[in-house]
Each structure stands twice: as structure tokens, then as C-alpha cells.
């Protein structure tokens, strides 16, 4: 054992040294975070390597990050005085970054003459400062059609419906549609916007106030409903991946999708055409998508020398030749004016029509309020699609929610007195704790010799835990009394209990709490019952049990992300295997799993039961090993039935092992963010499938309300603590077996 301790301490020391040698942000290294798609990343990577050949003293690192993660990660890092040197993303990232003052104004870096080379849309200004320099325009939706099925694309909504009807076909006459005229991810507001603009509406007025409760909005909502329910040219249920699959399998003639997807369709061997979204005849306006440039923002924390280096790199990446490479290979739309004269834009039909659509499009507003508007539109829009709300009511709700959310986003509390009071309270609490623990301290020193061995054994584990958990915990409590939000990201101060008041006055709080409790208990019940039953079966002496045992742990072994999404696919209304099985073997009518709140919640629970039972099974298998075989033999001699043995031998004896596992299982389930997020697509439909932790993630982090999020999280923690302690107290009484 001594050897082992030695080797262990050796590893720790080695690691400490490794940590010490970890690369620090040095002067010659430029880090870029981006959210490019794979083809674009490949091009970027190549261009960076070329750049490094010309400038061997500079090292450039590009790092892909998922958009949301990039944004929140960058904010935190930049506030901490660090972070990547550049962030590449869609123009709406400028809103929060500029407001938080964590990016550099680029008009101080680049001369006017240089900037004049770019399309105006590529220069993202606000308050007369240039915040982003874009290398690509677009991110715009357009109509993509399969040329094999659609010889000429529709130019108006009438033609769209006409062609759509003709191409929506039940080929084998089984009452099920085999080919749809049109598909797209119409459940997402971003993909709905073209129809709002087509009817003459828009999301904001010139003073950046939401304009969602308008007749145009109602018309737009009705139009989508008509496409689905009256003309029946789009599927009953389609998210992004379903729409994409249908189009790729030629089971849909047309799709509305963004420029990011087109190269993939060509690669899949489809003969596609791009056309601008149709004209709405009633208004004479084109259905106009949002257009957003994508480009580079520069970290505020850079010093002068580093800024020079970054400038050099940007000039290289944004040179006409490099932009043209991206245009040719990834069909993206460049920002250098001189490139528009290139014959590529006349010869390549995809680029030609892409340009046409961009010209018709409306720039995506970069203000932070957009975030609140999306979050406000989504639930009511999905309720309209689910049939639980009329378009008129939805318009009213959207507007109301947008106003509330904008207010939340802009929340700004100050309370100069509280800081001092808080410190006093904190001090008093520490003293009080020490006072109450005084007897324990005395006992500790008195018994230290007697219990020395126990302390040696327990200490290492406790030290590691305290080190990692303690700081974040205290930090979070302090944040929960602060006003940290968009308005005060760098200069937050303590303001008192206001965030807690907000948590408890949140109308949805109690509803979500109830759902969380249902979620936790249902899950744990099935996890334990299934897990223990399987373990009991597997614990018998019989051939082949090893194979079953191995196969049954698979849900635990396979990464959650992909299986959760697979389950989402299996719950699809029309094509999912669950509905097909229900129809085939149980003659049931299909269930709208993902569209109605109760069913969607059930779907998430089913997925999580599947994911979670192997864990309990493994624990139970281990626990069953501790039961002496003689006890069963004795019971057999006494003529005990199997259920008697189960009740008086097995259950009491596996209890000491199962109780901690169940307690922890409950805690983990209570706080399980992933599964909800993936299966219900972040709370869909209409934010009705949230549990507390996913709710706070969406409602608070999305709107940069860090103080509120901290308070909410702390409340979750307290609820869980009360819950856990009472559970422990209940079970402890029956714990002593021996």
C-alpha cells in the first residue's frame, strides 16, 4: 500500500507540474472562436495555415464552439480579462457584446479607406462604432426545390399552394402521404418570419419596441395554419431534422432552408434550384427572410501589439482572394464589393439566386432585445400550431411577453446601502456558526488522537471536494444578492433580496416545481423497479446471463446526446417508430408526442427511464452480492415463498446500498438538464416541458440575468436540500440491518 500511496503522490506532483507548464496566452498566439459549419471550417483552417507560413512568428488557433456556448463562454471569459482574441459569429452577437463593452470598436483599428472596400451590410455599427467586420452575408432562408419534381419554382403564394397540392401525393393509396409539396422547420419563429414580412409585418418598430400584436402577424399565423390544415401541403409535424430528411429522401419537393444547407443538398446528389421566397399576392410583397452577416469581433482585452497582429490576420482573411475561395467552395456570399462583379455571380445559378434573395431580405436586428422577442414568440406560435391558441390570442400574448422579457432583460437595480448590511449579516452568520459548533471543536481536539485513523482516511476526499465546490458555492450566493445582468455585467453590486422576490413572484415557478417533482418521482420509481427486477433476474444461476447483463447496460454506455436525439426521432408523429409500432401491434391511432404538453412530457420521461435504469441495475447487482447464500437456503428449508424471501431477505439487505443510490439518483434526476433539453428541444412545445433547472437556464441565462439565475439556482438547491434531508431522515430509521 505504501507503494501505491507513493505512486499516487507522484502522479499528483507530475500533474501539478503539467498544470504549471500549461500554455499561457502568449503574445504570438491568436485564438479564434467561431461557429462555422464544417466546410467553412476546413477553408478557414487552410487559410490560417497559409497565413502562418507567411508569418512564422504567429500561431493562429481556430476553435469551433456551438453558438450559444460561444456567446456565454466569451462573455464570462472576457469579463474575467481573458478569452479568445476574436469571436466569429452572426451579427446579432454584437448586441450583447457591445452593450457589455467586451469587444473593441473596429473603427479605431481599421482606416476608413480600407472599410470602404466592403458592402455596407458587412459593417456592423451601433452608436457610431464599428463592432464587427463581416466576411459573409447571408444566413438567409430561401426556397430550395428539387428540379426533378419542380420544373419551375413558384413565384407567388398562389403558385406555391398550387404546385404544393400537385406534389403532395399518396402514392400507394394507404391514406398516408408519401410525398409532400413543401417542408421546413416551420415550428421555429426564425423560419416563420418571412411570412410575417410577406404580409407586411415586422418584429420591431423604429424605436426598437416590439410590434407583434398586429393584423399582419395574425394573417401570417393563419397562412401557416392554412398550409398545414387546409391545403395540407406540409407535414403535420416537422422540426429541422425531419424536414431535412424528407427533402433529402425526395419525399418533399421543396424546402425552405438557409444558405448553410445548400451545399449539403448538392453533395447528397440532389439536383436543386434556389428561388426567392414567393410573393404574397394579397400585399404584393415578397416573403422576406432575415439576412445576417457573419464576421469577426475583437476582444476588448487585447493590447496594442496584439491588436496589430489581429489586424494583420483579418486583412489576410478578408482579402478578396480569400473571400472568393470561400464563395466558390462553400457557396457563401462575400462582403468585398469588388467581388460582386465577378462572373461567378452570373454563371452560378445558386449564387445568382442567393444574391436575389439577399437583396429582398431584411437585416436581422442586432439589438439585444431580439433575444427577448424570439423567446416571446416561440411559445405562443407553437401553441397556435398545436391548436391550443387562436392566432388573435397568440398575437396579444407574444406582444405582452415580449414587453415583459425586454423589461427583464433591461432590469437595473441598485441599492448602495445593502452591500454593507450584507457584509454585516455574513459576518454575523459566520460567528453564529462558529458559536454553535464550539462543542464540536472541543470534541474534535479531545478525540483527535482516538479518531486519528478515521481522519486520515476521510480527509483527502473531503479536501478535494471542498476545494472545488466551496468557492463556486459562496460565489453563487453572493451573486444571488447582486444585480448582475446586462446592465451591470462588469460593475455589479449587492442589492439585497430583490432577485429572490422575483423568483417567488414568477407565475410559472410553482407549475414548474410541480412538474419537477412529478418528473423526479416517476423517473426514480421506474429506474429502481426496472433496475432491481432486472438485477434479481440476472443474479440467478442460468446460462447466457452474461450476455444479457452486458447488453442491458448499453443505455448507460452510449453517449446521451445521440441517443436522446434518436428517441426524439422515434417520437415523430408520422415517421417515428413508436407510433408505427403502436398502430401495427396495438391498433392505436398515432399520438402527437412532441406537439402537446402532456405527451411531450411523457416522451421525455420515457427517454430518461430508458437512459437511467441500467445504473440502478448495476448498483443492485453489486448489492445482491453482499447477501449470504445461506440466508436463502435457510429460508428454503423453512418453506418460504419467493415473495417472502424478497420481502424479508433481499430488500432489507440491499437497502443500505440502494438508499444512497436512490437518494443521489433523485438529486441527479431533479437537476437533469440534458434530456429535457434534447428530447423536447429546450422545452417545446410552448415551454411546457420544463423542470426547474431547464427553466432557469432558458429564462435567465438566455436574457443574461446572472443575478436572477443565481438566486433561482440557490432556491432550487434549497428545495432539493429540504427534500433530500427529509428523505434521509425517513430512511435512516429503517437502515440498521445488523
Amino acid at each position: 500500500m505504501k507503494k501505491r500511496i507513493l505512486s499516487f503522490s507522484f502522479i499528483v506532483v507530475a500533474l501539478l507540474l503539467l498544470g504549471g507548464c500549461a500554455k499561457k496566452n502568449n503574445e504570438n498566439q491568436i485564438v479564434i472562436w467561431h461557429n462555422m459549419r464544417p466546410e467553412e471550417t476546413k477553408i478557414l483552417d487552410r487559410q490560417i495555415n497559409e497565413f502562418m507560413k507567411i508569418h512564422p512568428d504567429t500561431k493562429v488557433i481556430q476553435l469551433f464552439k456551438e453558438t450559444e456556448e460561444m456567446r456565454s463562454g466569451y462573455i464570462v471569459a472576457a469579463i474575467g480579462g481573458q478569452g479568445p482574441d476574436m469571436v466569429y459569429g452572426p451579427s446579432d452577437q454584437v448586441g450583447p457584446f457591445a452593450e457589455m463593452n467586451i469587444i473593441k470598436p473596429l473603427n479605431e483599428v481599421f482606416p476608413k479607406e480600407y472599410l470602404a472596400n466592403f458592402n455596407d451590410k458587412a459593417l456592423i455599427y451601433s452608436n457610431n462604432k464599428l463592432w464587427m467586420l463581416a466576411d459573409k452575408l447571408g444566413n438567409h432562408l430561401a426556397l430550395v426545390y428539387n428540379k426533378k419534381l419542380v420544373p419551375a419554382p413558384p413565384r407567388t403564394d398562389k403558385e406555391l399552394i398550387e404546385i404544393g397540392k400537385k406534389l403532395t401525393i399518396d402514392k400507394n393509396g394507404d391514406g398516408k402521404i408519401d410525398q409532400y409539396g413543401l417542408v421546413w422547420n416551420y415550428t421555429e419563429p426564425y423560419f416563420f418570419v418571412p411570412f410575417l414580412t410577406g404580409f407586411g409585418g415586422w418584429v420591431l418598430d423604429s424605436l426598437n419596441r416590439p410590434t407583434l400584436n398586429t393584423p399582419q402577424m395574425i394573417k401570417g399565423l393563419n397562412f401557416i395554419k392554412q398550409l398545414r390544415d387546409e391545403y395540407k401541403i406540409i407535414p403535420n409535424e416537422a422540426d429541422y431534422n425531419v424536414a431535412d430528411a424528407l427533402f433529402k429522401e425526395e419525399r418533399a419537393a421543396m424546402i425552405i432552408n438557409g444558405d448553410w444547407s445548400w451545399a449539403g443538398y448538392v453533395k447528397a446528389g440532389l439536383d436543386i434550384g434556389i428561388a426567392p421566397l414567393p410573393l404574397i399576392t394579397e400585399t404584393g410583397k415578397y416573403a422576406a427572410p432575415m439576412v445576417s452577416p457573419k464576421g469577426y469581433c475583437v476582444n476588448i482585452n487585447l493590447n496594442k501589439a496584439k491588436t496589430e497582429k489581429v489586424k494583420q490576420l483579418l486583412e489576410y482573411l478578408l482579402s478578396p482572394e480569400k473571400e472568393l475561395e470561400a464563395t466558390k467552395e462553400a457557396k457563401t456570399f462575400p462582403t468585398r464589393k469588388e467581388l460582386y462583379e465577378d462572373k461567378l455571380f452570373k454563371d452560378d445559378p445558386i449564387l445568382f439566386n442567393s444574391k436575389k434573395q439577399i437583396d429582398l431580405g431584411i437585416p436581422l436586428p442586432i439589438i439585444t432585445e431580439m433575444r427577448a422577442i424570439w423567446d416571446a414568440m416561440r411559445p405562443s406560435y407553437q401553441a397556435v400550431l398545436g391548436g391550443s391558441m387562436t392566432p388573435e390570442k397568440a398575437a396579444v400574448e407574444m406582444q405582452k411577453n415580449a414587453q415583459i422579457k425586454i423589461k427583464e432583460l433591461k432590469e437595473d437595480y441598485t441599492n448602495p446601502v445593502f452591500g454593507l448590511i450584507f457584509k454585516l449579516i455574513l459576518f454575523a452568520i459566520v460567528i453564529a456558526i462558529l458559536f454553535f459548533l464550539r462543542k464540536s471543536f472541543v470534541a474534535f481536539f479531545r478525540n483527535i488522537k482516538k479518531d486519528g485513523f478515521a481522519y486520515i482516511l476521510a480527509l483527502p476526499a473531503l479536501v478535494v471536494m471542498v476545494a472545488v465546490i466551496f468557492y463556486p458555492f459562496v460565489y453563487n450566493i453572493i451573486l444571488s444578492f447582486s444585480n448582475m445582468s446586462l446592465a451591470h455585467i462588469n460593475d455589479w453590486s449587492l442589492v439585497g433580496f430583490i432577485q429572490y422576490v422575483k423568483v417567488f413572484s414568477e407565475p410559472q415557478f410553482y407549475e414548474v416545481l410541480l412538474k419537477t417533482i412529478i418528473w423526479t418521482f416517476t423517473n426514480i420509481f421506474f429506474h429502481v423497479v426496472i433496475g432491481v427486477s432486472l438485477a434479481l433476474m440476472l443474479n440467478r444461476d442460468m446460462p447466457g446471463k452474461g450476455i444479457f447483463r452486458t447488453l442491458l447496460i448499453l443505455p448507460w454506455a452510449v453517449p446521451q446526446y445521440i441517443v436522446a436525439l434518436t428517441w426524439r426521432g422515434m417520437f415523430n408523429y408520422e415517421y417515428g417508430s413508436i407510433n408505427l409500432i403502436l398502430a401495427k401491434f396495438l391498433a392505436m391511432s398515432p399520438i402527437e408526442w412532441l406537439k402537446s404538453p402532456v405527451e411531450a412530457f411523457t416522451a421525455v420521461i420515457i427517454t430518461n427511464v430508458w437512459l437511467g435504469f441500467p445504473f440502478m441495475m448495476i448498483i443492485a447487482l453489486g448489492a445482491l452480492q453482499s447477501i449470504p447464500q445461506e440466508l436463502y437456503e435457510a429460508a428454503d428449508i423453512d418453506g418460504a415463498k419467493w415473495y417472502q424471501k424478497l420481502k424479508s431477505i433481499t430488500i432489507p439487505l440491499i437497502k443500505p446500498v440502494m438508499i444512497p443510490a436512490i437518494t443521489l439518483g433523485m438529486i441527479w434526476t431533479f437537476n437533469n438538464l440534458n434530456v429535457i433539453w434534447l428530447v423536447s428541444n429546450a422545452g417545446e412545445p410552448s415551454d411546457k416541458t420544463h423542470i426547474l433547472v431547464s427553466y432557469v437556464y432558458k429564462a435567465a441565462f438566455n436574457l443574461y440575468r446572472y443575478g436572477y439565475a443565481a438566486a433561482f439556482s440557490f432556491v432550487i438547491f434549497l428545495i432539493l436540500l429540504a427534500f433530500g434531508l427529509s428523505f434521509l431522515r425517513k430512511t435512516k430509521a429503517t437502515e440498521s440491518v445488523y
Binding site: 500533474l15 429522401e249 447528397a268 478535494v464 468557492y471 442491458l552 452510449v558 434518436t566 452480492q625 433561482f712
Partner: protein, 276 residues
């Protein structure tokens, strides 16, 4: 006897049904991995899709640093497993056997740490790692993973030690063992099933963790498997084929580990033989 046979058949049927339920979604993942053109979903329910191809698997090993990620993950998970088992087996023993001051509060403290919602730790943990200069180092991530895995491991070990009768150590002490020997020679081997679970759990914590890794590791050459997998994904256009193929390969070590360890999970060292 006939009765027993019937029970066995019934059990086989139940086990088969469960195995099918378990396998179906995983087979789906396999189907995605051999489906051409990066489609997550399909309207076609056949297991082997038309134009099935294994090119994703080849791509994964040939053109992507998959092996590097696997190696990184293996090192991190290995160290975390070792730390987890070493610290949890001792701490669990102390808590199970001794009545020391602070025992109750350490137990509670361990449990409490598990109650922090992710939303509570995300921001402060990141700031802490920045301040401690632990970004981009394995040390940071190993400490965080060990701390995450430990509470469960300690509790699990404690629960298992509780089922081992006190009389065993007492007789060992009478036979002349000291405290340490009584633990190390007598009790520790008996706890094999719990150690296996602890090891598996620590390994899994490190093997599949994504959120902390994404915050700490910024250099692609340090990437672990979950980070690598995530890099196949981008907004709206994910390389689903690669993602699915990689997911399946990632789960192989866990399954192998389980098979190897299950020998000890059902070790002959059951209590009965010792207890007498």
C-alpha cells in the same frame, strides 16, 4: 422442478423483451452511422439503409484526430478512476466504521455538493478556473471530475461497508492485525463489488463529461472524446454520420470495462463464505 423451468423461461422472455427495447435505439444510432448524406432521421425504418456505407468509420480514424481524443480521454478517465477508487474506498470506510466528530456533517456535505444545479456552478466554476490558471490543463479537469465523482463513490462504498459485519475486523484485530491491516487485508477485498461500481462510475464521469471540459480545454490537441464528438456538430449542419459512428465507438471501452470488471462484480468473495 418443472416450476423452476417455467420460471426460467419466463425470465428469459422478460430479459429478451428488455434487451430489445434497449437495443432498438442503439441500432438506430448504428443505422445513422452507415446512412449516406448525414441524415439524422429517415422515413425509412430498415436497419440497413439503402447505399449503406462504412466510410464514416474510415473517415473517423483516417482523417480525424479520433485516436488522439481517445488517448486524452483515456488518460484523464484513468487518473480520475484511480483517484476516485483510492479516495472513496478509504473515506467510505472511515465514515462507515468510525464515529468521529464531523462525520454527520461530512456525509451531508458530500450529499449537498450533488444538489447544486448546473446553472449554479457554471459561471463561478469558470471564473475560479480562470483565476487559478487551470484553463487548458489536465490538472484542472481532473480535480473537477474527481470532485464530481467522489460523493457518489464515497456514499456507495459506505453503504457497502455497512453491510459487512463489524465482527470481521474484531476477529482480525484479535488475530493481531492493526487497524490498517484489518481494513486493507480483510474488508477491502470483500468490498470488490462496490469497488467495481465505484471504478465504473468514476470512469464514466470522466469519459462522457462535456460541459466542464468545454470550458476548461481550449486547445484542440487536448480535446477529450465528448469535445471531439461535439465538434462534428454545428448549427443546423451536423455531420450526423460521423457523430453516430463516433458515439458507438466511444461506448465500446465502457462495455469492455464492464465485462472485464464484472468478474469482480460477481466475485467468489461473497460474504457468505467468510461469515460462517
Amino acid at each position: 422442478m418443472k416450476n423452476k423451468k417455467l420460471v426460467n423461461i419466463l425470465i428469459y422472455i422478460v430479459l429478451t423483451i428488455f434487451t430489445l427495447i434497449v437495443l432498438y435505439p442503439i441500432i438506430n444510432v448504428f443505422t445513422i452511422s452507415i446512412r449516406p448524406n448525414d441524415r439524422l432521421f429517415s422515413t425509412d425504418l430498415s436497419i440497413i439503409p439503402a447505399n449503406a456505407t462504412f466510410k464514416q468509420y474510415i473517415e473517423l480514424f483516417k482523417n480525424r484526430p479520433f485516436l488522439l481524443w481517445a488517448w486524452n480521454s483515456a488518460i484523464i478517465s484513468g487518473i480520475v478512476t484511480f483517484t476516485g477508487v483510492a479516495l472513496a474506498s478509504t473515506a467510505g470506510y472511515a465514515i462507515s466504521r468510525f464515529n468521529f466528530v464531523g462525520k454527520q456533517s461530512s456525509m451531508l456535505g458530500l450529499l449537498t455538493t450533488q444538489m447544486f444545479p448546473a446553472t449554479m456552478l457554471l459561471l463561478p466554476m469558470y471564473i475560479m478556473l480562470i483565476k487559478l490558471q487551470l484553463l487548458n490543463s489536465y490538472l484542472g479537469i481532473i480535480i473537477v471530475y474527481s470532485a464530481t465523482a467522489l460523493p457518489f463513490c464515497v456514499w456507495q462504498m459506505k453503504g457497502f461497508y455497512d453491510t459487512i459485519p463489524f465482527s470481521l475486523e474484531e476477529s482480525a484485530r484479535i488475530d493481531g492485525c492493526n487497524q490498517w491491516q484489518a481494513f486493507y487485508k480483510i474488508i477491502f477485498p470483500l468490498a470488490a463489488p462496490a469497488l467495481v461500481i465505484t471504478a465504473l462510475f468514476s470512469f464514466m464521469t470522466a469519459w462522457s463529461e462535456y460541459i466542464v471540459a468545454a470550458q476548461v480545454l481550449q486547445d484542440t490537441s487536448l480535446y477529450t472524446l465528448p469535445l471531439g464528438l461535439k465538434s462534428f456538430e454545428s448549427n443546423m449542419s451536423t455531420e450526423w454520420g460521423l457523430y453516430a459512428a463516433a458515439s458507438l465507438i466511444v461506448s465500446i471501452p465502457v462495455v469492455v470495462l464492464f465485462i472485464v470488471l464484472s468478474k469482480w462484480l460477481v466475485s467468489g468473495l461473497t460474504l457468505g463464505s467468510v461469515k460462517g
